[in-house]
C-alpha cells in the first residue's frame, strides 16, 4: 500500500520518468514560490479527482468515462482557479494561463485512467499524493537551478539569499528551461536514478 505512495516520487516520477506534465514544469519553474504554488494546485486537483473517480468507478460507464473524468477534473481545476483569484491573487497572476491548463495536464487524466478508475479509494488517494509530491519536488528542483543561475539568488516566501555572482538571464528564458531539463534528464539517466 505504501508503495502506491512512494512510487510516484522516484520510480514513476511524472516529470522525469513518465515525461508527463512537462508544460507547466518548463513554464512555471522560474521561481521556487511559483513551483510550490503550482505543485500544491496540482496535488489538490489530483487528490480530489482521483478520489471522486475512484468513488464513482463502478458507476461511470466505460464508454463515456473520458468525458466524465474531464468534467470532474475541470471542476476541481475551476475551484483552484477561483480560490487563487480570491485569496492568492499574486500567485494567480504568476501562474497565469497555466492554472486552467492543469485540466489538460497529462498527469491527472493519466492517473485517473490508469489507476483511480480501477482501484479502491485508499490506494487512489495514496497514488495521487505520491505522484503529486513527485511532481512538486521535481518542479522545485528545476526551479532552484533556474532561479539560482538566472537571478543570482533564491527566495522562498520572502526569505532569500543572494549570492555574489553575475546571474545568466538565459536560465529564466524558455531556452534555459529546455536546457536545464535536458541536462537533468541526461544526468538522472547517467546516474541510474531513472530508466
Amino acid at each position: 500500500m505504501i508503495k502506491d505512495f512512494t512510487n510516484g516520487i522516484v520510480k514513476m516520477n511524472p516529470i522525469f520518468v513518465l515525461a508527463l506534465g512537462l508544460c507547466p514544469a518548463l513554464a512555471i519553474s522560474t521561481s521556487i514560490d511559483n513551483a510550490i504554488g503550482m505543485g500544491a494546485s496540482v496535488i489538490f486537483v489530483l487528490l480530489f479527482s482521483n478520489l471522486m473517480i475512484s468513488l464513482l468507478r463502478n458507476v461511470i460507464p466505460k464508454e463515456v468515462r473520458i468525458p466524465c473524468f474531464i468534467v470532474i477534473i475541470a471542476t476541481f481545476v475551476t475551484i483552484v482557479s477561483l480560490a487563487l483569484q480570491a485569496y492568492l491573487p499574486a500567485l494567480n497572476e504568476s501562474l497565469g494561463i497555466y492554472v486552467p491548463l492543469i485540466v489538460v495536464n497529462c498527469i491527472i487524466l493519466g492517473r485517473a485512467e490508469a489507476f483511480a478508475s480501477k482501484n479502491p479509494v485508499s490506494r487512489s488517494v495514496l497514488d495521487a499524493l505520491g505522484i503529486g509530491l513527485g511532481f512538486t519536488l521535481s518542479l522545485i528542483i528545476i526551479s532552484i537551478i533556474r532561479e539560482l543561475l538566472g537571478t543570482g539568488g533564491i527566495s522562498v516566501f520572502g526569505y532569500g539569499v543572494t549570492l555574489p555572482f553575475s546571474p545568466a538571464t538565459f536560465f529564466i528564458m524558455p531556452a534555459g528551461a529546455f536546457l536545464v531539463i535536458g541536462l537533468l534528464l541526461g544526468l538522472f539517466k547517467r546516474v541510474g536514478v531513472i530508466r
Partner: protein, 173 residues
Amino acid sequence: MKESWKRVIVLTSIVAISVVVLSSIYNITEPEIAKQKEIKFEEMLQSIFPLATDYSGKEGIYEIYSNNKRVGYALMANGTGYGGYIEILVGVNEDKTIKGIKILKQTETPGLGAKITEKWFTDQFSGKPIGDIRLKKDDGKIDAITGATISSSAAVDTVYEGYMEKIKMMEEK
C-alpha cells in the same frame, strides 16, 4: 437501449453536479475576487497619488480626490510593445502635467525591455508636460533604456497617445 440511457444520465448528472458545485463556490469567492481587483487598482492609484483618499470615474478616466478636494486624474493607456500589450496608468496633475506613471501590464524581455517598470525609468515622466514625453533622441526629455529602445519608445508612445486620447475624451464631455 438501456445502456445508452445510462451513459447519458451519468454524464449529464456529473455535468449538473459540476454546475451546482461551481456556482456555489463562485458565489462564495466572487465578492473576494471583486475586492482583490479593487485593492489592486487602489494600490496602483496610491503609488502615483500617495495622498489620495478617494476616486471616481470609469472607462479609463478617473478623478482623484484627497480629502474631498480633487488633486488630479488617472488615465488608462494601452499600447503595444516588443512582446505584447502594454498597459500604463498615467497620473495627471490639475495643471495637466504628468504626476507619474505606473506600468500595469507588460510582457517585454526580462532583463532588458522589462526594465521599463524600474523606478528610474518611470520617475522620468513625473512633473513633465506632455510635450516633453518623447525619447531624448526624438527631441524629448525621456532617456531610453540602453539596448531596449523599442520597449522604451513603446512605453513613451503608450503614455503620450493614451494621454492625448483620454484628455480629448474628457474635454468632449
